[in-house]
Amino acid sequence: MGNDLLATVNWSRAQFALTAMYHWIFVPLTLGLSFLIAFFESIYVKTGDESWKKLTKFWMTLFGVNFAIGVATGIIMEFQFGTNWSNYSWMVGDIFGAPLAVEGIFAFFLEATFFAVMFFGWQRASKGFHLFSTWMVAIGSNLSAVWILVANAWMQTPTAMAFNPDKARFEMQNFADIALSPNAVHKFTHTTSSAFLLASLFVMGISGLFLLQKRHQLMAQRSMVVAATLGLVASVFVAFNGDESAFHIAHRQPMKLAAMEGLYTGQEKAPVVALGLINLAKQPGDDLPAFHQEVKIPGVLSLLANRDFNSYVPGINDLVYGNPQRAIVGAQQRMVSGRIAVAELSRYKEAKKSGDAAGAAAALALFNQNKDDLGYGYLSSPEQAAPPVALTFYAFHIMIALGTLFPVIFLAVLWFAFKGTLDSQRWLWWVCFAGLFLGYVASQAGWVVAEVGRQPWAIQGLLPVGVASTNIAASSVQATFFIFLALFTALLIAEIGIMVKQIKIGPEA
């Protein structure tokens, strides 16, 4: 790979990471808060109590401020597949484009159409239709998440497609298998329930702030209880489908699982690392220890991966170099057949072009024998098949630690609310306020695990990021990276400024 191409790929990755992480600051709040607002408004419509309407409108204002920047950061997510990953767009567009189009037709319009009613329809639409619209925005937002997550799940665990050598692309074989793949289902439930969790923490954090400031105390306590209830239910879901996810990752992306736990050498009764300090000098294949310090719990990784304490979990070295005893074919060996696939595909295309039918048939036969390893043929060393371990490991452990803490906070709030003493737990209000920020940390960390942990692949095992990107000067991508950085940062500062002001004004306004 030439230097400029490498730079282009890396800047494109940086830009994708930047825009995705910015986008993901706003989206989970949209997904979760939309439902909380729908709950609040439902209580208002059912009871006719104007104070619930006021409460609804307050959270709706924050929702609107957040929603706008979510839309602003979202449009680039769709189009940069084309602008920065054009080879990817061609090679898998036949599969990947469909969910994005479905998302546009069925989800975005629901959001966009009913959003106007939700914000400006209080006087123009009936009470019932207004409530209906609020629910439609909540459902529409979450439906938007379905389709992009289906697409993402397919990238992580490609299924239901075949390679067409004439077109040099993958083609869809079964839409239902893609939309309903186990990974798609887990990804959706895990992501949306984590978004509900984040939104619950957001509402509790601001309510905690109000209580600390002795403002809007009734509204704050009401909001807190509704949010803690949703948050607790969401926590259970997050944990449950997180566990399911790990099980699937173990079988479809074993390298990612190994990186998540810093496991270099496969073993039976594989441990999870409860606490660990990664040795940054460690590389696949060397003799250095993986950790400077660690606290391990034996067998738990085996349990997560295979539902069996004693089972074997492969490590990074096994997956890179292979392990014949365990019948693991490593990246090293797959690169050999991958290179044959790449070369034969090229020979096939040339033969077709020059009208050499026999040559084309011979090349195609060899290609077909090796095509499952096509992606490995583009790697320059087997070690490239391993993702950045430290980042994946730390992100995963931060997510897990926080994910364990959150339900404790929800339970505490509900417990004191049940006892009727929520209004005197000053320490808990502080915890809730801190929880607001921790929710964002956990949420971002989750995506870091998912996306860093699947490197170097754009499509797991089939297309490395280096082949997926657009052939464009690195300087162009660098320029757009910095424009996005400046623009999104300015808009984020504006968003926070407005949010803080609206929180200061409070629901009375």
Partner: protein, 378 residues
Amino acid sequence: MIGNLDIAILQQLWWLIASVVGSLFLMLTFVQGGQTLIFTTAKNEEEKSLIINAMGRKWELTFTTLVLFGGALFAAFPLFYATSFGGAYWVWMLILFTFVMQAVSYEYRKKPNNVLGARTYEIFMFVNGSVGILLIGAAVGTFFTGSRFTLNLYNQVTWATPFHGLEAALNVFNLAFGLFLVFLSRALGAMYLVSHVDHEALVRQARKAAFINLVWALPFLLTVLYGLVTMDGFAVDPATGQVTLEQGKYLHNLLGMPAVLVLLLGGLVSVIYGVVATSFLGKKCGIWFGGLGTVLVGLAIFSLAGYGNTAFYPSLTDLQSSLTIYNASSSKFTLTVMSYVAIGVPFVLAYVAYVWRVMDSKQLSLAELAGEDSKKMY
């Protein structure tokens, strides 16, 4: 049922669907046009707020239609998505930046402590309505004037100019197309205001603005029409897929597909009638004629580019790299699946129309802006 259709039929169907979505987007750019009227048609802060709030009820619809247009092209013509977005990188990026700016501007402009100040968000809106639309026009113009790129055996694009698409804006035809869209969207925005706002002075100014912008649009429209009937076009031999330059190709397309000619002329007449009805006949319904006319013109333009054995995304560097609706499309399976999905579109249109009616049954007035929800207004 759909699965039994020939792939060529599906490709034509999806070009039609993409054209409809693209044309609806052009109609909905009345929002962008309206955004540019805040510095010319509005004479004071109140009128500016009325314009922004009138457009603010609809901006997301336009935005979403653009996103859907992108999604539909990705799903149905992924080679176009890959080639144009990856190749004409800077044009699309600049367009996207203006839409990023737009998306926050309505919500943030009037909110206290918005850091950048109301004026900045108004400028964002103006940039989106002017630069954004101009570049979209220039990009669509390249459907006829072509771009400098090659595709290799793996269909990977290499762009032959370092400007990555910005060169499109230097071509007279593309530029005229872009400016035509800018002034058309302004005329549409003005007509929309006339029908949706209850404010005597602003409506009077908007009636005038509709006509003035139509007049501004005319020279650019004529440039585009003259270009279309005289320029060489990119013809495809249906048997071999070979692309050749054909003199007067788009004129031949117009004459060979009389329905397209009818769409084009009917559309233009409808737009002109809408403006005349708004500006001189005192009518409020001009926007409907303007909007319908824009859709028809859009359909005609996309049909001219894609149908009649024409390459819709031609390459000037290597004619055989040009994209046609046949070589750029998804597989038959994907097009079939997507066609089933598209059956849901009328349902979507139905609820969009219903909500539009509920929300627009009453005109927007200053009283509403100052009413119970005044703090929530844009």
